[in-house]
């Protein structure tokens, strides 16, 4: 056994002991809970106006965390874009390679065109109902990304508008921050809920929460589509 193996074994043993300690000493009864969660459950519908409590936590009580998650996705996409970015010669080479891929058959290509509006509709629906039903910006955004990415899969040599996707991405991301800043200047607190909660369960309710959902959805959609297209071309 080499020194490397022994130290790896020691590390694993230590981790095992740590995790077993947690399991042994963990009070599974939950008697120590402080009631933060139940308070949010009781207050969310009244204060924020969302029927979906999860969304009220994501976009109102802990909106800054969601902005952070958005930034993590953005950092990851930017870093991947940087690593995968190519010089013009490499670009020409990979374009040649892509051109040698035959486009998918007639059925797949037509199905893509047929699917496209439905995917857009489903994505938009999930995004704008984020404050009412399970779902919201991240999930709907992933569906929007699929709508734009499936055509790239069926015709790899087709164009993908990287410029437009990064423009949309930047603008949608900044609009999330700008809504937050409006709250900062209007209400004195970053990402404070704007507008009145309205009637719980209606489409137009919960103040600025649906706007934030929409910003997240558009941002995530353009980002994921751009990233996936980048993977195919690299």
């Amino acid at each position: 056994m080499s020194f490397r193996d022994i130290s790896a074994l020691g590390l694993l043993l230590g981790l095992g002991v740590l995790l077993i300690t947690v399991l042994v000493h963990f009070p599974f009864s939950g008697s120590n809970l402080t009631g933060v969660g139940s308070s949010i459950n009781a207050l969310a519908a009244k204060e924020i106006g969302t029927a979906n409590i999860v969304t009220s936590v994501l976009l109102a009580y802990r909106g800054l965390d969601t902005l952070g998650e958005l930034m993590i996705l953005f950092v990851a996409a930017t870093a991947a874009g940087m690593v995968l970015a190519q010089s013009p010669e490499e670009d020409a080479l990979s374009l040649q390679k892509l051109n040698s891929f035959p486009a998918a058959g007639f059925v797949l290509r037509v199905a893509t065109h047929v699917l496209f509006p439905f995917l857009l509709l489903l994505g938009a629906y999930i995004i704008i109902h984020g404050h009412l039903t399970p779902g919201g910006g991240f999930q709907g955004g992933a569906i929007l990304a699929a709508a734009f990415f499936i055509p790239v899969l069926t015709t790899p040599a087709g164009p993908f508008a990287h410029q437009t996707s990064s423009l949309v991405e930047g603008l949608a991301g900044s609009s999330f921050i700008i809504i937050g800043l409006l709250a900062l200047f209007g209400q004195g607190s970053f990402l404070a809920p704007l507008g009145s909660p309205g009637v719980v369960g209606e489409l137009f309710s919960a103040g600025s929460v649906p706007l934030l959902s929409a910003a997240i959805g558009i941002k995530v959609g353009s980002e994921l589509a751009g990233l996936l297209a980048r993977f195919i071309q690299a």
Binding site: L11, L18, L19, T21, V22, V24, H25, F26, P27, G30, N32, L33, T34, G35, V36, G37, S38, S39, I40, A42, L43, E47, A60, Y61, R62, G63, L64, D65, L67, G68, E69, M71, I72, F74, V75, A76, T78, A79, A80, G81, M82, V83, A85, Q163, S166, L167, G170, L171, G173, S174, I177, G180, A183, L184, G188, S189, F190, L191, A192, P193
Partner: protein, 486 residues
């Protein structure tokens, strides 16, 4: 007061808009990122003054007060490290300037995330900002194109870092399950009953492992040498000098607020001692200049961890002094290796052709070893004062640190000795251009400034330390009278 949130939002907004600005106004894009940093710096200095006059402040996010919402705590410590981050990234931006949009975006995101990391008063929020900093640093460490070793190193960094992040998340989940809250001051109130059992301490150990990946502590610092040897030198300087300090400041906060418990202090001490021994020995045997600096940075960060593991104000003061000193000096040393990468032996006789860089290297090295009257001496002096007065196991740790200073002196003097030998016949002089020396000159200027103002700086640091140690003040500022409605 909206300054603290702007410190985070402005870099983020800048990163979103940078590609758009570059596309339409190339010249404006060239200046956009530095302008954002300078504005942040101005805001930060304003906050620094404010905090010095009126004391710590809290800032509620999302219009919901703690513990339901997220709260920021702005005290002298957090502002100090935001200042270090901003000044550091501006200094690293001096001199060579590349029009690489993605790297600028990543750097801005790292600055925004790092500011949030030290300002936030919410455990999960800290994790989110830590992730931003972490992912940005994986990307930046792979930003030199066409270097397979660099890609491999940053991939390993990414794997280890993701594992660490998973541990942090697990630790946070355990804490949430034990207490039902994520707010640091709420947790600080509950800590003595809820978190000082075995399950709570295991959560601390898990989080410590996670933050230790960035803080270069034992045993999750295996990525350090490889990444610093292959990443662009500015990135190595940023990661070793500044980002590692942000991670260790978070550890300090958790330790003081949630785990002011003997076993937690002992855990940090043990990790520090193990890192010190392995780091300094590895530096002694290193053949490559950048790897030597990387291992020495592991050793130095372990010393900072040891300092923070000493309970009470003295330990915190010495740890802060060591952290600030290391942030200056290691950044400078890494910047010097822009041209001097590779084996140490290739430096033979370099002092004859590159006078100024050699002089700078000697100043930085002497300060790092702790030769009076350079600032490094005072930082180590404070540490010994704190350590020996704490007694017990700390005295042995201090003896070990004394020994490590001898090892440190041995390997730095070996390099300096090589610099002043007669040059080898076949060598080509690798002289850094004058423009590349600008950041180092700024740093050595700062170092001399610190040397002349040791006394006021010491008083300021002890003021910061008394503020940081005061847990009750933290709770009073961030947690208003709160009644749960369940």
């Amino acid at each position: 007061m909206m300054g603290p949130i702007l410190l985070i939002i402005l870099p983020f907004l800048g990163a979103f808009l940078l590609p758009i600005i570059y596309r339409h106004y190339n010249q404006a894009g060239y200046w956009a990122a530095p302008v954002v940093l300078v504005i942040s710096l101005v805001i930060c200095i304003g906050l620094w003054h404010g905090v010095n006059i009126v004391g710590p402040q809290s800032l509620v996010m999302g219009g919901v007060s703690a513990p339901l919402g997220i709260v920021f705590y702005v005290d002298a410590l957090s502002i100090l490290f935001v200042l270090v981050l901003l000044v550091g990234s501006l200094i690293l931006w001096l001199g060579a300037w590349h029009r690489r949009i993605k790297e600028e975006m990543l750097l801005l995101l790292m600055v925004g995330g790092g500011s949030g990391l030290v300002l936030s008063g919410d455990l999960f929020n800290i994790y989110v900002f830590f992730e931003i900093v972490a992912v940005a640093s994986y990307g930046l460490s792979a930003s030199r194109r066409g270097d397979p070793c660099g890609y491999a190193a940053s991939l390993r960094f990414l794997l280890l870092g993701s594992l660490g992040s998973a541990f942090i998340l697990l630790g946070i989940a355990i804490i949430y399950a034990l207490t039902g809250t994520l707010n640091l001051s709420h947790l600080a109130m509950l800590a003595p009953q809820a978190l000082h059992g075995m399950a709570g301490l295991s959560a601390f150990a898990l989080m410590l492992i996670g933050f230790a990946v960035k803080a270069e502590l034992f045993p999750v610092n295996t990525w350090v040498a490889e990444v610093y040897a292959h990443a662009p030198v500015r990135i190595s300087a940023l990661l070793a000098g500044i980002v590692s300090k942000l991670a260790i400041i978070v550890v300090l906060r958790l330790l003081l607020l949630l785990y002011a418990h003997e076993q937690a202090y002992m855990l940090l001490l043990c990790i520090g001692v193990a890192g010190l021994i392995t780091g300094e020995l590895a530096a002694f045997y290193a053949k490559d200049l950048r790897r030597m600096l990387a291992y020495s940075s592991i050793g130095q960060l372990s010393v900072i961890a040891i300092a923070f593991s000493i309970p009470g104000t003295l330990g915190v003061v010495s740890g802060l002094a060591l952290a600030l000193h290391h942030a200056l000096v290691k950044t400078g040393l890494f910047m010097l290796t822009e041209k001097w990468k590779g084996s140490i032996s290739s430096l033979q006789g370099m002092a004859h052709s590159a006078k100024w860089p050699s002089v700078l290297l000697i100043i930085f090295a002497l300060s790092l070893i702790g030769v009076p009257p350079l600032p490094g001496f005072w930082a180590k002096f404070l540490l010994f004062k704190a350590g020996f007065s704490a007694g017990g196991g700390y005295s042995y740790a201090m003896l070990l640190i004394l020994l490590s200073i001898i090892i440190e002196a041995a390997y730095f003097f070996r390099v300096i000795h090589l610099l002043y030998q007669t040059p080898a016949a076949s060598s080509t002089p690798l002289i850094p251009r004058n423009k590349e020396l600008q950041p180092m000159l700024v740093i050595s200027g700062l170092l001399l400034l610190v040397m002349l103002t040791i006394d006021p700086i010491y008083h300021h640091l002890s003021k910061i330390a008394t503020q940081v140690v005061d847990v009750q003040a933290y709770i009073d500022h961030t947690l208003p009278a709160w009644k749960s409605t369940h």
